[in-house]
Point group: C2
């Protein structure tokens, strides 16, 4: 596997009122690092454009010990772990400047054809430089939990002009803003995400109004389960595990 | 005057669908650069916190030849030009890697007391290291043009949890998103900002719903005039001068 590392200092504008990196900005940072990794291997945006394909993200899985603080120096390491005919899997590790692991993120990618906007089989020459393992089997991955329809909170959001990114899609980080903003301010101030799964099922388009639905689930641990819907159809789903902010290092 | 320079490569996540840096992300970048300048001079956030004061931004003036592209290397230079008993004035110059000037931004700052949330007189020791010129006179600065009440377009936005920044204010860049998103997609796709003035009159708070109003004004040149209102009170105003995107280097 070809590993790539990049150092960053977290700017203020990536942080929330608690001076911690937001999850949406974390995702922006990680995707930029994987773009830099790809460019180094000759698989930058223009290479993909010549083939009329681009990467789309289908799933994130986050494991968070601590989100870095404003002005903290971190290192992000990334490598493509495995691929099969339809999906590639990439891992990101975020470490502090003492080399302690803060965050691990696993991302599932697929290739979309620009003309049909459908998924295509992954050509070997596109993925070869990453030196990931090929597997015939498609991974079975944990999905977000069902939402509890008896106790849903929801908020609506119109897609904004600047939500559309350089790929002509609603940027991934915007879904995360919609997912989390559906929780109330008192909850977000006092709770930290420890684990999260987000799956992207269907593209949200310009002109759409999305409904961000959330329900809480308390077992031994506290979870929130989420759906992003447009006209009653699910476009993205998520489940997050939370702890209170007084606990363990946050 | 103490000058500070910082090089940046524009990441994809700061860009719009045209692969150009957005105005809201430009502002985030500039403010980060001025924070780094301040830290170098021993006037970082913690210094200000000990005095129970923080900088607030009252006004931006933008002169834009071209917004940088995704992955373009730029240099940002900044220096405090002048101050008086209430305001300080800072200039930012953005240049491409051929040293051509792309953008000039002038920013007016004031100091806010944390307890009263009111403006306070600027203590000499806070500004001394920047080596700006002291002036007894308060500058008269150009204000945004009146809005044309006969032809207003408007959109409403609820303040979101993550709109609040590390200073516990709605981040400046969020006002810019509200200002520009009030224009329709067809206009934004085909027009580029050449000049802009934004003034901040009154804080928008968490829980507020803002109305972003806009009217067009066509003289020899095309302008849009803007108001951000909460319950009928103006919280921010702006005027932008636009050209069509086919013209001159954009």
């Amino acid at each position: 596997m070809n590993h790539y590392k990049q150092k960053e200092t977290i700017p203020y504008y990536m942080c929330d009122r608690n001076h911690q990196l937001t999850l949406s900005m974390l995702v922006n940072l990680l995707i930029e690092v994987s773009e830099n990794h790809s460019a180094l291997l000759g698989r930058e945006e223009s290479y993909m454009e010549n083939l009329d394909i681009s990467w789309i993200i289908l799933r994130y899985e986050f494991k968070i010990d601590r989100l870095p603080d404003a002005k903290e120096k971190i290192e992000i390491e990334t490598f493509a772990t495995e691929y099969n005919k339809l999906f590639t899997y990439r891992t990101f590790i975020v470490r502090d400047n003492q080399n302690n692991q803060l965050i691990e993120v696993k991302v599932t990618f697929a290739l979309m054809d620009h003309a049909t906007r459908k998924m295509v089989r992954i050509p070997n020459e596109v993925v070869a430089p990453y030196a990931a393992l090929f597997s015939r089997r498609i991974r079975r991955e944990l999905k977000p939990h069902e939402i509890d329809k008896s106790q849903i909170d929801e908020k609506s959001y119109e897609v904004r002009y600047f939500d559309i990114d350089t790929n002509n899609h609603v940027n991934n980080s915007k879904y995360i803003e919609w997912l989390l903003d559906s929780l109330n301010s008192a909850f977000l101030k006092t709770h930290a995400i420890r684990h999260g799964i987000i799956t992207f099922d269907k593209e949200v388009k310009e002109g759409n109004t999305v409904t961000s639905k959330v329900s809480k689930r308390l077992t031994d641990e506290l979870f929130t389960d989420h759906r992003i819907e447009v006209d009653g159809t699910t476009h993205a789903s998520a489940s997050f595990k939370w702890t209170e902010k007084s606990e363990k290092g946050v």
